[in-house]
Amino acid sequence: MTLLRVRELSAFYGDFQALFGISLDVAEGETVAVIGANGAGKTTFLRALAGALPVPESAVAFDGRPVGGRPSPALVDLGLVLVPEGRKIFPSLSVRENLLVGAYRARPGPWTIERVYRLFPILGERREQPGTNLSGGEQQMLAIGRGLMANPRLLLVDEISLGLAPLVVKNLYRALEAVKAEGTTLLVVEQDVSQVLAVAQRVYCFRKGAVALEGAPARLTRERISAAYFGT
């Protein structure tokens, strides 16, 4: 069953067009990755889905309902949650409080604060520290955990690997497998191609705000990805 259906989505920053007619589907329980070079429009795409950018109503359907352009809180209620680029941990809040903010209008579901601590034990150990005292990798865990606290049906994750060492990235992707096992659908944006190819069932490659390549990872060779990335 299709959980997210995007049709001919275009988005603008002022008079600058960032996305050109993107169509994409995510089935319930699936993990889909969006890859592409910097400036390809990946982050804009996720922000448009999460209600942070104005888009036409019909361009985005969630669970069969048109939801394009709805404000973020309404989308969180439906179970569509974004883990933003750059983690965006609230500096005035402790680790625990950052997680609790994620549950501000939580739906019922498997994710509780204890369940997040089990997934990322380090967060439980450092629960009373300011969220921004954590290392980059731990902050990324916190950002994912905060998103999970809303019990999303679809979790959008923007560039997990940003500024993180390869080993840390590997661990984060292992955690995503556990999230997937709970039945959460994932749409992951990533520059770090190798990790993503291992977890995703399907991959979309963006170039200059449009879909340049799409398919199952097994069918995508390094040459095809490279060509789609850089247009060479």
Partner: protein, 222 residues
């Protein structure tokens, strides 16, 4: 953000800087331009320690920066935007500055738009305006922060041509860019940075071919 980064640029040299998102590239440029103060270390320009010099004074000394996200003076015309750089950064009187402004506008292909309000420009034109204003300050070194980002292929090629042209006039260049083929065609040397540190430094082809850079930058295991 930066961890004991060292980077040197010779007179008339063009250096490209690459690295993954969050590697500290923009931070490095901002430190060079005086918009950020380093906790430790120094910025030396033309043999002079300029670490304590504020941004506007560095511009007057010959270090010009173009911003990743263009900040045109929206209520002013394209010509006036360039004139700010020429009179304040370039230290000329208004009349003496006109010729330099015209040259900068022609070089960046904006002459026909001289009377347009900058707030109404397209992205490409805004990027060109960033460059034109910086050139009008008569820089000795030009710091370019992702000036080709977000442009279409033909636009990137046009911009590369302008930058090669600037370089041919003897202006040193430090250019951060993700569009690698654009960089390769315009620089003498590539520096790859990650975690605020220099990873590789050398001729563009050698740097791009190194497995280390392939892994860190593209995330593709060779």
């Amino acid at each position: 953000m930066l961890d004991r980064l060292s980077l040197a640029v010779d007179e008339r040299e063009a250096v490209g800087v690459i690295g993954p998102n969050g590697a500290g590239k923009t931070t490095a440029l901002n430190v060079m331009a005086g918009r950020l103060r380093p906790d430790r270390g120094a910025v030396v320009f033309d043999g002079r320690d300029v670490t304590a010099m504020p941004a506007h004074a560095r511009c007057r000394a010959g270090i010009a920066l173009t911003h990743q996200i263009p900040h045109p003076f929206e209520a002013m015309t394209v010509f006036e935007n360039v004139l700010v750089g020429a009179t304040h950064g370039g230290g000329r009187t208004e009349r003496d500055a006109y010729a330099g402004c015209l040259a900068a506008l022609e070089q960046t292909g904006l002459a026909a738009r001289a009377n347009t309000r900058a707030g109404t420009l397209t992205l490409l034109e805004r990027k060109r305006l960033e460059l034109a204003r910086a050139l009008a300050t008569r820089p000795r070194v030009l710091l370019l922060d992702e000036i080709a980002g977000g442009l279409t292929e033909p636009e990137v090629l046009a911009l590369v041509a302008v930058i090669r042209d600037v370089r041919a006039e003897g202006v040193a260049i430090v250019w951060i860019e993700h569009i690698v083929h654009a960089l390769r065609s315009a620089v003498d040397r590539l520096v790859a940075i990650d975690f605020g540190r220099s990873l590789m430094d050398g001729p563009p082809d050698a740097v791009m071919a190194s497995p280390e850079v392939q892994r860190v930058y593209l995330g593709i295991e060779p």
